[in-house]
Symmetry: C2
Subunit: 345 residues, 2 copies
């Protein structure tokens, strides 16, 4: 949807109600079968189909921690905020019903500056484009003035009862798979940081050429693997799944812990992103690919819904003398320490 | 649940995973019929009953805007965070299924200081006590390091299909009701501010005597009207409802707008809290009482589930020469301007 608002006459912040109207016009969308009541009441109302369970996830993004106003264009912040939430639904094999967004904003990001688009409008342009791609209406949320940008995304999805992909279903002997390529987001962040540092004196995020956007796409515009998660769920082929938000070394450790098994990755077949190092592929977060396990009897194709799938290892019994996650390289089998993101460390 | 953690040996922040374990032990609760899968996977899974719709609401609380670390004890911040979300469910007549919390925290609030309890533990003590009262398990959420405290509460509830109390159902001729008393929260905030200013040199929130806690209870420990909302929904007696979060002058204007009607309040019968002024009762937010309308034929009792209910006015047709919300006083009928809370103004 294009911005159909009147241009700003005065350089004053949008009031809360005006802001809500503008958001509605950008991403509210029309009511659809699953969403009975959207923005405007005390709660939104969702109607799952008979026999469906509801999947709910929340992800908090804080300026300076998850993104930087001086590095990331507002559209990218909007896209990535929503992508984080959608990726969690993908990992459960759930179909999205609706998104909710609580957004804390400094007042100046709601104030027009000359001819420049308001930051919050650009945020919702990026958010809205991804929401339309995955047919996920913004059904509600909250707005508050805040000294820093804080965006909490809530995704609600639906999955047939008992069919969700869980972290806890992997068994020793299962094979380990991953969608797409690994490390591209970490490599893209490194590239963006270099760009930003080169243009450090400018108060605004760098303007990115389309070539640069392509190069950094894995970081700027990660694609949640909704279609791939649904495909696996509907066929009942995956025994466990998790999305790669913190890095495979950390997320695989979570999967092992919940499933009470160990895992061995084969470094030689890891689908490392062409821009990335092995270290970035193992420990870099925010790739938002799906990591899943399946029985050796399950026929997992090499492409699911247009995205390549790689077999990267296998699940084993836990051993007292070895850590849960190991990696086989030319040098033999080594411990793979979880070096992904953890807060408060 | 009491704190059953070991005392802290070192003055270091809790890691993210340790923090999650501590939260689980405080408020995770056991799985129950409606909550199939709680904290620990990519999403939580909820199972509504057949024929139920899902109600979802989010409310963002920011330090310095919605509470102050130097005024509000951590237990109060936890209680009020959850109460805001539960109150939205109450206004829809929904039964709570689960809560989700995204919490951004400065690192120092996760660090033990001498013998004092960690801030985040005290926050979850307050949160958990209210969660147990309303049988609402914390089923998930997110944690992030943040320069300020930002707490986004998400409540998911269930309501039989087509039975939710909406803002949009009021008709001209309906009578207007409110639960409990008004202005107590605003009066309590004024009292707390005075206390805090008197003890301004102390870096910690004031220690409140039990007498002071009683006096300020409407502000410190507002009670969401879950039982009253359910009572109205189950009997189909209310034509519209909203919770009083921003103040009756503002919230009644929302209800009028969504229902496309006007309203006249009778000042002489307004249940003003004994500590509060009329102005606080009309414009003070955060009372979290229910404001609802009902047909004149509906028999609304004077007490619902232990809380008094007052008839405070009536709904009328909109008139071009009058604002939506008016108030009848000794001086005649006056416009009641919405002077409650609005962000970015």
């Amino acid at each position: 949807m294009r911005n159909c608002q009147e241009p700003f006459a005065a350089k004053r912040p949008l009031g809360e109600r005006a802001l809500i109207q503008r958001i509605r016009s950008r991403v509210g969308g029309k009511p659809f079968a699953g969403l009975t009541l959207g923005i405007g009441d005390d709660c939104a109302l969702l109607g799952p189909r008979p026999g469906e369970q509801i999947a709910v996830t929340t992800d908090l993004s804080i300026a300076g921690r998850h993104f930087r106003l001086e590095w990331h264009p507002p559209e990218v912040v909007g896209h990535r905020t929503l992508a984080r939430g959608l990726s969690d639904l993908a990992a459960m094999g759930a179909r999205p019903l609706a998104a909710f967004l609580s957004l804390g904003l400094p007042r100046e990001l709601t104030v027009p500056k000359g001819r420049q688009k308001v930051w919050v409008d650009r945020f919702f342009d990026g958010f809205g484009a991804l929401a339309r791609t995955y047919k996920t209406p913004l059904a509600g949320g909250d707005l508050a003035e805040s000294p820093i940008v804080a965006a909490d995304i809530v995704l609600v999805g639906a999955v047939p009862h008992g069919r969700a992909l869980l972290r806890s279903g992997a068994r020793a002997g299962d094979l380990l798979y991953v969608t797409g390529r690994l490390g591209g987001a970490a490599a893209g962040l490194t590239g963006l940081r270099k760009l930003a540092i080169r243009s450090e004196n400018r108060p605004r995020p760098p303007t990115l050429s389309s070539k640069m956007r392509d190069l950094l796409a894995a970081h700027l515009n990660p694609q949640p693997r909704i279609a791939q998660g649904l495909w696996l769920q509907r066929r009942g082929l995956a025994s466990a799944a998790i999305d790669l938000s913190d890095g495979i070394s950390t997320d695989l450790a979570h999967l092992c812990e919940e499933s009470e098994v160990a895992a061995e990755i084969d470094a030689s077949v890891l689908p490392v992103h062409p821009n990335a190092t092995l270290k970035q592929a193992l420990h870099g977060g925010e790739d938002y690919e799906l990591l899943f396990t399946a029985s050796p009897k399950a026929r997992i194709p090499s492409v699911i819904a247009g995205v390549t799938v790689s077999r990267i290892g296998r699940m084993t019994r836990r051993r007292a003398d070895l850590p849960d996650v190991t990696i086989r390289t030319e040098r033999g089998v080594e411990m793979l320490e979880p070096k992904g993101w953890e807060h408060f460390q």
